[in-house]
């Protein structure tokens, strides 16, 4: 198995990736880049699930299946989000979150 790499290294790596995603979520102003930050966050959570599964409970498969389902949810979320973004672009001709401030049409 993984010789010489403690579990904590994986968790710290995932934590850094998660908070880089949070930083992007807070600073970005374009809807697509916000979506990309959300993908980073979801991905870091997957690393956590898999590291826990491999190091702490190697006889079970929960981590594997939940990462699989997280990937499925991320794909569905990306499809719907991009449909919404393209619709917003059609109505407002921009996808900057500060210019899109009305829901009524």
């Amino acid at each position: 198995m993984n010789t010489g790499i403690p579990l904590q290294y994986f968790l710290i790596l995932a934590a850094i990736m998660f908070f880089v995603g949070i930083y992007g979520f807070l600073t970005r102003r374009n809807l697509i880049t916000i979506l990309m930050s959300v993908e980073l966050i979801l991905n870091s959570v997957n690393i956590n699930f898999l590291a826990f599964n491999r190091y702490l409970f190697p006889h079970k498969m929960e981590g594997l299946f939940f990462s699989l389902f997280v990937i499925g949810v991320a794909a569905a979320e990306a499809a719907v989000a991009i449909a919404i973004i393209i619709n917003i672009y059609r109505r407002f001709a921009t996808i900057n979150v500060e210019d899109v401030n009305e829901m009524k049409y």
Partner: protein, 177 residues
């Protein structure tokens, strides 16, 4: 240093550097390509953890599907040469402070916690076992989440088609009036 450690350091450096570039790059298409690099290095980490199936799913679904979808929508909605204006220093500073505070607290907690592994023998996870567990209703089966995710996927597909359909309700309203 063993080859494992070298690979781990390589992948983590790639993930961290390209994640930071993804959220700070001012050209949107480049940000998407950096995201692709992050996802591919994550697939490498999955291979290191010995989850071959999930690494393959990551490569095909994330690096193949979602990134292509994102790049398509970038090409549909913005000019390739367009550059974002830089983020205001106030917002940048406070966001970085919030993110770093969260990261430091999390890392301290991780280093402080005593993880205890089970003594049970590791199980070899092959494709046959994954397929059987996914459709089994026994103790180790995951058929309920599988069904839930299939309903979610079909709902998302229908919703995406309905939302992105051409012709807004505005036009039909004026026609009926």
């Amino acid at each position: 240093m063993t080859i494992n450690q070298v690979m781990f350091v390589l992948f983590s450096v790639m993930i961290i550097v390209f994640s930071v570039l993804t959220v700070t790059s001012r050209r949107i298409l480049r940000a998407a390509v950096y995201l692709l690099f992050v996802l591919v290095s994550t697939a490498g980490l999955y291979f290191m953890l010995n989850f071959q199936f999930l690494a393959a799913v990551q490569l095909t679904l994330y690096a193949g599907g979602i990134v292509v979808l994102i790049i398509f929508s970038i090409l549909l909605t913005s000019h390739i040469s367009q550059k974002f204006e830089p983020v205001g220093w106030k917002k940048s500073l406070f966001s970085a402070l919030a993110a770093m505070a969260g990261a430091i607290i999390t890392i301290i907690t991780i280093l402080d916690f005593k993880f205890s592994a089970t003594a049970e023998a590791a199980r070899e996870i092959d494709m046959r076992l994954i397929g059987k567990s996914l459709l089994s209703v026994e103790y180790d089966g995951y058929v309920l989440p599988f069904e839930v995710i299939s309903i979610l996927l079909i709902a998302a597909m229908v919703a995406a088609i309905v939302i992105a359909k051409k012709g807004g309700p505005k036009k039909t309203e004026t026609q009926t009036l």
